[in-house]
Symmetry: C2
Subunit: 471 residues, 2 copies
């Protein structure tokens, strides 16, 4: 990924910045306020390519709700923009700094406050790492399903801000479905609670859901009540090879139409399979055009895999290999989880798209993406949460080559246009951020944008919360 | 339930009303505009008690999106309030008319436009009856889980407006989780599309979810894209008798803590059991203090019922009776489904509360409700979606007795106060409407109310959409 940065000079310790720092330090400990230019610069970007990032005036690392309130009151008083950040693993530039902003990193608020196995909830601070929560609830026989690829690094607050997904979604849904209630610090520093800690609740407009995916543009999430599920049985994985992407997509349709509920249904194209082999020597079958991975965490996964294997064969699979055990299954998943890193290694830089289409259109999406790769003479690997119709066409390019970079950007946009044409969305799980804000307007139309701007105005009348993102 | 009506005289055909009718008739067929006073009066109420209802100026029954747009443009031009309605089976007064309003009944827009088994979605108009959709998707091997008690009568649009739940929620969640995208006519007649028809999508703020449960206060839902699930196996039901509500609630906690995922986990107290026997001679065990019904729609429901039966016995169940087959299971469910009707028959009128508490607090909720019944010398039957902690304490009273009516209203409020005290919500699935609007403010606080009012203002600057509800 490109760690691009705008050409603006680093912020100097002007009178205005001095005032900002003095005011911040009146309510934050010294070690929670970072001003060293090398340090603050390291907070400028998330992992998106082609997104400008400014130089923060300061990075703050509050540890309490009161400290976050102090930061927001200060920012409101001085009309300074605030960019909230988690682990900066996002892929849309939503966490990129703007010049002179306060970067509000929530990573130090990382306590798991409660795990309740009867109510099946956890209450956490926003900086808790996704994997840390998964492990902690696992000790109680529980499971927090959302599993973005960056789960070992990314934070729950970041997951909420970007409404992230993962491999589990085909059965277990996305982050949004696990957020029951939030404590939010508003732009002016006031604290608001949304939602509930009960299984159900419909008191007023669903403010919780409004914050999920709002990319820090409406307020700062400082606490979340999350729904948990019982830990399912260990899943068993099947790999099926196909001689064409179309055949693999046909298999996906047959599986879903057949009423099966896989815990994972992933697709890797040949480019991706080869990239993974090159990176990790995993011995995946390079002769394949498309590799489909299906998993079940049901009471009898072998039976489910047999049924799904038969459907793959009916769709023309050239080989169907069910894993015999958990170890083999884990190896296949490793290959899938390495895909994006492997594609990044192909040319040094990638742009990862995130177009979700109705799954019945998945075949057309794959075919169209291949046409686009050909048109722009680019390597575009495709990994997809196939069961959800959520594709990640990943453009591999050499950032030092201006023409290839231009073609990469253009192909990226053409892939989104194709997704919309097929009745899909420009983002299934990565969000809009800076990267896709022009495309958001195209997807939701002028009336939608007008209403969304109206909502933004209600929560952030001064426009200090993560400006320049989303719209 | 009381069909109360405010004392305001029926609207006369004044010049203003004449203008309204003329304008409406310019874009609606004559049979879609009802003005006969007896007819319009019959559209004044939903099924809530203690909620005032005014006399509509007119009832309109549009059949197309364009006709709804015409109605809203007319209402905006003349500043006339509009009260959207489905089947008026709601229990919070959210669909009650206000004096001189246009009642906008969506019941004639009742087409199922699409059922797609690969994408697992249905596209419907708002007036489709819940049960009609369930049956239609069932023919494709699919299932639309949300099943409010009124499912044979209530409409999908009403379900969306009130964010309704049902028996299935403990496993399958509430209406909100099945609404992927909406077409909405705004207050000024413009059309806005929200959401998606894909499995995932995070483009911008979640406007779809904002409309779910908004009780017609933000816009008129004219089309919905709904998620479907594969039809699960036929569920098998177990009944367990307990000598106390506390023991039954202990069983609920053990079942949920044990990681079980019942498709239904319902509780009926002795008052309810007796009422059902009185109404339908079902031979339920009247010696019991609390009857728990658990169901599983898993591949091996008998095994799951055996495990859950053992947990019930460990919690002190006096008898555990698993149904042998689907017919026996259906009989037990019939008893549960008849509960509210049966309680209504006790004294002629009921107030059905809808307090949801963390399920670990269910025992305290039951105990507290019994204390309240004693304090006010009232019969309060309790049915509960126990697995969700969602109780429906149902106050039975004689509406002709002013003192008993007063006590009924006071006990109803005290039950909500108890729910909030236990960390719960004033409404798990019935909504706020008119009935609970003072309580909404108490639950979400002044900052929450301010933000919700702000959102309302964005969508409905003239305040013509279902005024007087929610806030």
């Amino acid at each position: 990924m490109i760690m691009s940065r705008s050409e603006a000079p680093p912020v100097k310790d002007t009178a205005a910045t001095g005032d900002l720092l003095d005011r911040l330090l009146a309510g934050l400990p010294g070690d929670a306020v970072l001003t060293d230019l090398d340090v603050t610069a390291s907070y400028a970007n998330d992992m998106a390519s082609f997104c400008p990032a400014g130089a923060p005036a300061v990075v703050v690392l509050p540890r309490t709700v009161e400290q976050v309130q102090h930061v927001m009151r200060t920012a409101t008083a001085l009309r300074v923009p605030v960019v909230p950040q988690g682990a900066r693993t996002g892929l849309s530039g939503a966490a990129n700094a703007s010049d002179g902003c306060v970067v509000l990193s929530l990573t130090k608020m990382d306590r798991i406050l409660e795990i309740n196995p009867v109510d099946r909830i956890a209450v956490v601070e926003p900086g808790v790492i996704n994997a840390a929560l998964s492990r902690a609830v696992g000790e109680h026989g529980l499971c927090y399903p959302p599993d973005p690829s960056s789960w070992e690094m990314c934070t729950i607050g970041g997951n909420i801000g970007t409404a992230s997904g993962g491999l589990c979604c085909v059965k277990y849904g996305v982050t949004a479905e696990y957020v029951l209630g939030l404590d939010v610090v508003l732009a002016d520093g006031r604290l608001m609670s949304t939602g509930r800690r009960t299984a159900k609740g419909v008191a007023g407009y669903d403010m919780t859901r409004l914050f999920v995916g709002s990319e820090g543009s409406l307020g700062i999430v400082v606490r979340a009540t999350l729904a948990l599920k019982p830990q399912p049985p260990q899943q068993l994985v099947l790999a099926a090879e196909f001689a064409s992407g179309a055949a693999a997509c046909d298999a996906v349709c047959r599986i879903m139409e057949g009423g099966h509920v896989p815990s994972l249904l992933e697709l890797m194209d040949r480019t991706t399979v080869r990239a993974v082999n090159d990176l990790a020597h995993m011995g995946l079958p390079e002769s394949t055009e498309a590799l489909l991975l299906a998993a079940f965490d049901t009471p009898d996964p072998a039976a489910d895999l047999a049924a799904v294997g038969a459907l793959c064969e009916a769709a023309g699979a050239t080989q169907v290999v069910p894993a015999d055990d958990a170890a083999e299954s884990e190896l296949l998943l490793q290959a899938r989880r390495l895909s994006l890193t492997a594609l990044e290694a192909v040319k040094g830089v990638t742009m990862i798209d995130d177009v979700c289409v109705p799954r019945s259109k998945l075949g057309e999406m794959l075919e169209g993406t291949e046409r686009i790769a050909e048109k722009y003479q680019l390597t575009i690997g495709i990994v997809a949460h196939a069961g959800d119709g959520n594709t990640h066409p990943t453009v591999c390019f050499d950032a030092a080559d201006p023409d290839e970079s231009r073609r990469a950007r253009e192909s990226f946009d053409e892939i989104m246009a194709l997704g919309l044409e097929l009745g899909g969305t420009i983002t299934g799980e990565h969000g809009v951020g800076f990267l896709k804000k022009e495309w958001l307007a195209r997807e939701i139309g002028p009336v939608g944008i007008e209403m969304q701007r109206g909502i933004k105005q209600v929560f952030d009348p001064l426009g200090i919360l993560n400006p320049g993102k989303l719209f």
